[in-house]
């Protein structure tokens, strides 16, 4: 494996087994996350961004299950240099629990409901340390205070005793980030961490995440459907559609030479002026097909302006490399 790669996801399939049928939430997605860099994951609602993230941590809720594929985690620390295939582990495996919260941690959209309402912020932060370093003993509270200070929470001595409902939304998300970074993970997964915040607070949280990244050198998987935030935060971008990654590229290439008809449509749907601000993904003709009933061939063929009958609706387009680090899954680019 390329030493610069932290996570390598290959052909991941994660399904939900419902009474009405099988929801193929992630349907053959492949992507890589480079060490110390930010991968933006973008796509319409329901395309499988969150489930991909949950799969990395093996916390896909029932009745969901990783069906097949590989999630390789590269651990290089001092003499240690090994690759773990996360999909080989059970969700309850001690090694998996060990990875969660210490090597890979996650923050969520709703900082209010993501904390337990009946435990103090300090209690919940300290727990993260104690879970992974049972011998940490007396130093845990001091480390919690230190981390709260680093994420910019005023008066940490008092706020550590606060319950989540006593903090503002921005403060809660800061506390969430503090909890996630407590053990200096090599990957922080942020699932729409600013969607529930107002614009000013959003800007502060994004700045904080960038600061913490340069301090701790962690990689970030940043999930959003806001292309403006992608432009601001991401080094690399993966565009998802219906459980697949349809295009991967460095952020410049995504905005300057988009290849996939879906990405092109996305970018065109945003008025030029808004390109750098908070524009949402929408206004592409047609609706996203039901993931209970994924169409054959290219997932986008029902809405694609470049649809080629006999090819696009029959053969799943393979990943084609169009430039260095730039791949696209579309028959327009196959030989």
């Amino acid at each position: 494996m390329d030493p610069g790669i932290l996570i390598d996801i290959q052909h991941l399939h994660t399904n939900f087994y419902l009474r009405e049928g099988v929801v193929k939430a992630v349907n053959g997605a492949s992507l890589t996350i480079a060490k110390g860099r930010t991968l933006g994951v973008v796509g319409e609602s329901g395309c499988g961004k969150s489930v991909t993230a949950q799969s990395i941590l093996q916390i896909v809720p029932r009745p969901g299950r990783i069906e097949s594929g590989d999630i390789l985690l590269h651990i290089a620390e001092g003499d240690l240099d090994e690759t773990i295939n996360i999909t080989d582990l059970n969700p309850g495996d001690p090694l998996m629990r060990d990875i969660r919260g210490s090597r890979i941690s996650m923050i969520f959209q709703e900082p209010m409901t993501s904390f337990s309402p009946v435990h103090t912020v300090g209690n919940q932060l300290e727990e993260t340390i104690k879970l992974h370093q049972p011998k940490s003993g007396d130093e845990a509270p001091a480390r919690v205070l230190d981390m709260l200070r680093r994420v910019g929470i005023a008066n940490p001595e008092r706020n550590v005793e606060a319950y989540p409902h006593q903090l503002s939304g921005g403060m809660r998300q800061r506390a969430m980030i503090a909890m996630a970074l407590m053990l200096e993970p090599s990957l922080l997964i942020a699932d729409e961490p600013t969607t529930a915040l107002d614009v000013t607070t959003e800007a502060q949280i994004l700045a904080l995440m960038r600061d913490m990244q340069s301090e701790l050198h962690m990689a970030i998987m940043f999930i959003t459907h806001d292309l403006g935030v992608i432009a601001e935060m991401a080094d690399d971008v993966a565009v998802m559609y219906l459980g697949r990654v349809v295009e991967k590229a460095p952020v410049r290439a995504i905005f300057h030479s988009p290849k996939h008809p879906y990405l092109q449509a996305l970018l065109e749907s945003i008025p030029r002026i808004q390109k750098r601000t908070g524009a949402r993904l929408q206004a592409i003709e047609g609706v996203v097909p039901n993931p209970l009933d994924v169409p054959p061939g290219c997932p986008f063929h029902l809405r694609c302006p470049d649809f080629m009958p006999g090819v696009c609706d029959e053969v799943v387009p393979p990943d084609v490399t169009v430039d260095e680090g730039h791949t696209v899954a579309c028959h327009l680019y196959t030989e």
Partner: protein, 328 residues
């Protein structure tokens, strides 16, 4: 927190007064009074109820005075001397009649609540964390059966089983030999041998309900984002379930303390009649039928006060476990 407690405590007094007025009015509401029903009784047994006798009785019990005077006298007696008036039917002070019975009622209800919780908690938690498993289905089924069987029927069946297979008389709270004996270890053991029957009978239907509640609450909580957060921190499943969602799902239980009590007390009445237990239920019914107003009124008043007390206790507990309430 202290302010909150004080508020609740102060609220107790007006609530008590309002309940006492309502009680008194309700008891006076049916036409006639104890003397009327006494007269009817006398006539039915062929004796003569002379006007003079009835008048004398009315005077003696203060029934010739206006209702509000009767009420004030009654309440005054309660507050100053803890004197709940005189039972006309038993011709004894109400206090003598009810304290023991009230204690038994509270004991049985309390044990029933504890027993219900001991059963319902683990089963509810297991059912929710193993939703749609064989275990879950079995307990759902048993729960419906339990909720469907009438209490008194279960009591009768248990009594019959005890008698048929063990030659035991399960009625009452003590065996013949101990009924009037002073308290001793043997008497205590004998009591336990009898006490479990009403406790089990009363627990069956409420346990079924509580399992459903716990299961539903916990299923709700298990879907909350903070559970995912805890999982993503690397907690073991049982550790996180017990620390977070179970903790939050407890709140509805605690608020249920308040209304479980009156439910139990009225539930006990039928069981007490079937099992001939010395609780308040049976004498309450008789006092109502004979319009023995001070006895009936006092029982109502005390049970209602217990309910307010239950509300008070559950408020305090709720504030203790839920910072969102405590820190309002």
């Amino acid at each position: 927190m202290w302010k909150f407690l004080l508020q609740r405590l102060l609220l107790f007094i007006p609530t008590f007064l309002v309940i006492s007025v309502i009680t008194f009015v309700l008891i006076q509401a049916p036409p006639g009074d104890y003397i009327n029903s006494y007269a009817t009784q006398l006539e039915a047994s062929g004796e003569e109820a002379s006007e003079a006798l009835l008048l004398a009785l009315r005077k003696r019990y203060g029934l010739d005075q206006p209702v509000y005077i009767q009420y004030v006298k009654w309440l005054w007696g309660i507050f100053t001397r803890l004197d709940f008036g005189h039972s006309m039917q038993w011709n004894r002070p109400v206090g003598d009649l009810i304290w023991d019975r009230l204690a038994w009622t509270v004991l049985i209800s309390f044990l029933t609540i504890i027993f219900t919780w001991i059963l319902a908690f683990p089963i509810g938690i297991y059912s929710a964390t193993h939703q749609y498993s064989g275990f879950d289905y079995s307990f759902t089924f048993l729960g419906f059966v339990g909720a469907g069987i009438p209490d008194f029927l279960l009591a009768l069946v248990l009594m019959w089983l005890g008698f048929a297979f063990f030659g035991l008389d399960m009625g009452g709270l003590f065996s013949e030999a101990f009924r009037d004996a002073p308290w001793s270890w043997a008497k205590f053991v004998d009591m336990l041998k009898h006490l479990w029957v009403p406790v089990v009978v009363l627990s069956v239907s409420s346990t079924a309900g509580l399992i459903r509640t716990m299961r539903a609450n916990l299923l709700d909580e298990l879907r909350k984002p903070y559970v995912i957060t805890a999982r993503s921190k690397g907690m073991t499943e049982w550790h996180l379930v017990l620390k977070y969602p179970v903790r939050v799902a407890l709140n509805p239980f605690i608020s249920s303390i308040a209304y479980v009590l009156p439910q139990l007390v009225s539930g006990t009445t039928i069981i007490s009649i079937v099992l001939s237990l010395p609780t308040t239920g049976p004498i309450q019914i008789r006092s109502l039928m004979s319009q023995d107003m001070y006895l009936a009124g006092s029982i109502f008043l005390l049970l209602a006060s217990l309910t307010i007390l239950g509300t008070f206790i559950s408020d305090i507990l709720l504030a203790v476990v839920d910072p969102r309430i405590r820190l309002e």
